[in-house]
Amino acid sequence: MEQYEPDRLSPVQQAAIRRSFRNGRAALSRRSLLRASTGGALAVGGLGALSACGIPPAGNTEGGVSAEDHSAEEKSVNFSNWTEYMDIDESGRRHPTLEAFTKRTGIKVKYTEDINDNTEFFGKIKPQLAARQDTGRDIVVLTDWLAARLIRLGWVQKLDASNLPHAFANVASSYRTPDWDPGRAYSYPWQGIATVIAYNKKALDGVEVKTLSDLLDNPKLKGRVGLLTEMRDTMGMTLLDMDKDPRSFSADDYDAALARLQKSVDKGQIRRFTGNDYTSDLTKGDLAACVAWAGDVVQLQADNPDIGFVIPDSGYMLSSDNMLIPNKARHKTNAERLIDYYFEPQPAAQLAAYINFVCPVDGVKEELAKLDEDAADNPLILPDKAMQAKSRAFRSLSSEEETAFEGKFAKLTGA
């Protein structure tokens, strides 16, 4: 407001004017201004704008997905990955396997840890990919179901097999033909993720857990059991526990498994549905037992000897994070070379020794034994025959199934 002090007005009048701006019903308040302006704006633009909006189909059925490949003249590749999913040297800043790749090929890798959560990352790249624009990323690493969705939507590029000889030869058999990407035409696994049952010996206090049923039913564990918010892992383990195959279950099987979990939730057996944050609850002993990711368990065990894991006789869920090349990526060939590089035994072993996830590459054992004897013998990193036989993948879902199943599962978790 301007300083309004004309000489002609008496002090009393001036005060009255000033008051009228500040107090009383008729005051020119921010509220009345807002009221007036929003009313007007809504009347004029509102309705028209409302109906003009709309979200175009996300799927891409037409061609024109590959951008011009600048791999030859721009010797670089942009690699987006999850946090703590790459080997690091002592200084904590350099990634030895990536540096070796650059040294050999001359291709600089811009490595970014900008994926924290599949759903959030999907929200992040969706606008660009739906609009058929470059996301600025040449490789993204996404979990099976999201990789499947991107392939279904036509948002990723078909890989050129001639650039991927090692990948083709060395990818482990459990990963060779997922039902959402037969023959690995669009994706190659980065790491496998085994979902197992983890426990804290101290917190269990003598209670024995061998199956998921023990977690869901034993009254001694009431309020100290954790399940994962990742629908496929929790539901997959439940289906296995009920002797149903997650690779080929029906909608009724799903509902039955859901009802089983709901019963435990209603009893107060389940403390929480968690993402990655179950690890701190488990080490503190707030969770006595939970459905957990094996990679985490290996790392937790290193710090806390009370942490253990069990693989139920009914089997365990194996999923993977997959490298994909999004549409319009500028350096497709470079990206393919990098993907192929991680299927050579030596870099694969180096990576496995550092991050402790399930290695999806065959013929790594020897190299890994050179680096770390224990890791080479750990079935959670290099699964043996018995372990491999127990692994199950969650079947891929159609878009309608996905919405329905996720919706029902969200209800179970309370939201």
Binding site: E2, L50, E120, F122, F273, G285, E406, T413
Partner: protein, 309 residues
């Protein structure tokens, strides 16, 4: 500057100076408003319109969404998720009351009794803001851990028996119960209560207290008749600043709660990100906005402090 005063005619104006300088003065306020208005349009009005539109669309991710004026989404969302709405309001209201009970004495102390400690206490109030919201909430998981001293003490004093009877906690734990969520909300939004309370208390002339004492008012009467009424603006804005963000919060419920403590923020998040049901998520957001607006309007009318907001 002044528009009405007549400037003395400038001697021999040069030809192009047709526009008197006061013309510019008249537009200055609007120019100054412009950045704020633009900000509001881009980051508030447009998203609101976009969400309003999304809430009446139907379709799927693959086929795209079209505006079909499908208002039933609102009804479906409300009938499915009303428990979460009720819970949000209850939790936010509880946290607001707790904040007021904790914050008022502290603000009073800072304003009237702290003396040279005033700045230090203010810093202590604000300092938690220097770390992230998430970290502060996670810290409560350690504080309230099952085997931790807090829960141990509460258990030994049989406080947990009482709270469990009331349904605030379950078993011998505080984490993953409604009590933990309300505690987290209270902690996270406490400074929003203290700061407005402090500013309105600090403005009260201490001589009014002396005058009340001279008129034989007991300290309690002074507080009731003088201090509290004068601090009402702070109370109102403090409660609003606490209640509004608390009712939309989902982090506390996510980290400190369990399946039976989910608030409407959690539902919106899961609808948007997991289930990809954008219309329902948008409708839920609008219902939440409308609910808060209604609550706030009633509250302001009742407390008779319209010119504050």
């Amino acid at each position: 500057m002044a528009t009405v005063t007549e400037a003395p005619p400038t001697p021999a104006p040069v030809a192009p100076e047709k526009k008197p300088p006061r013309k510019r003065g008249r537009w200055t306020p609007y120019l100054l408003l412009l950045p704020g208005l633009l900000w509001l349009v881009v980051f508030f009005a447009l998203p609101v319109i976009y969400q309003a539109s999304t809430s009446v669309q139907t379709g799927s991710l693959e086929e795209g969404y079209k505006v079909t004026w499908h208002f039933a989404t609102y009804w479906d969302a409300l009938s499915q998720y009303w428990p979460q709405f009720v819970r949000s309001v209850l939790y936010a209201a509880s946290a607001t009351v707790l904040c007021l009970l904790l914050g008022y004495p502290l603000a009073y102390l800072i304003a009237f009794r702290a003396g040279r400690w005033r700045n230090l206490i203010m810093i202590l109030v604000i300092a938690p803001f220097f770390t992230s919201f998430l970290i502060r909430t996670l810290a409560w998981k350690t504080i309230l851990a099952d085997g931790g001293p807090v829960v141990g003490a509460l258990d030994a004093l049989h406080v947990l028996d009482v709270t469990a009877f009331l349904g605030w906690t379950a078993g011998d734990r505080v984490l993953a119960t409604p009590l933990a969520v309300v505690c987290g909300l209270t902690y996270n939004f406490l400074p929003f209560m203290i700061l407005p309370l402090y500013t309105s208390l600090e403005r009260i002339d201490p001589r009014l207290h002396e005058a009340a004492g001279d008129l034989y008012a007991k300290p309690s009467t002074t507080f009731r008749k003088v201090t509290f009424p004068l601090s009402m603006p702070g109370v109102v804005s403090g409660t609003l600043l606490t209640f509004i963000p608390a009712s939309g919060d989902y982090i506390n419920s996510d980290l400190l709660g369990s399946t039976d403590t989910r608030m409407v923020g959690n539902v919106i998040q899961s609808q948007f990100l997991r289930i990809l049901d954008y219309p329902t998520a948008a409708a839920l957001s609008f219902i939440l906005m409308a609910a808060i607006l209604a609550v706030v309007t009633v509250y302001i009318r009742k407390s008779g402090t319209e010119d504050l907001v």
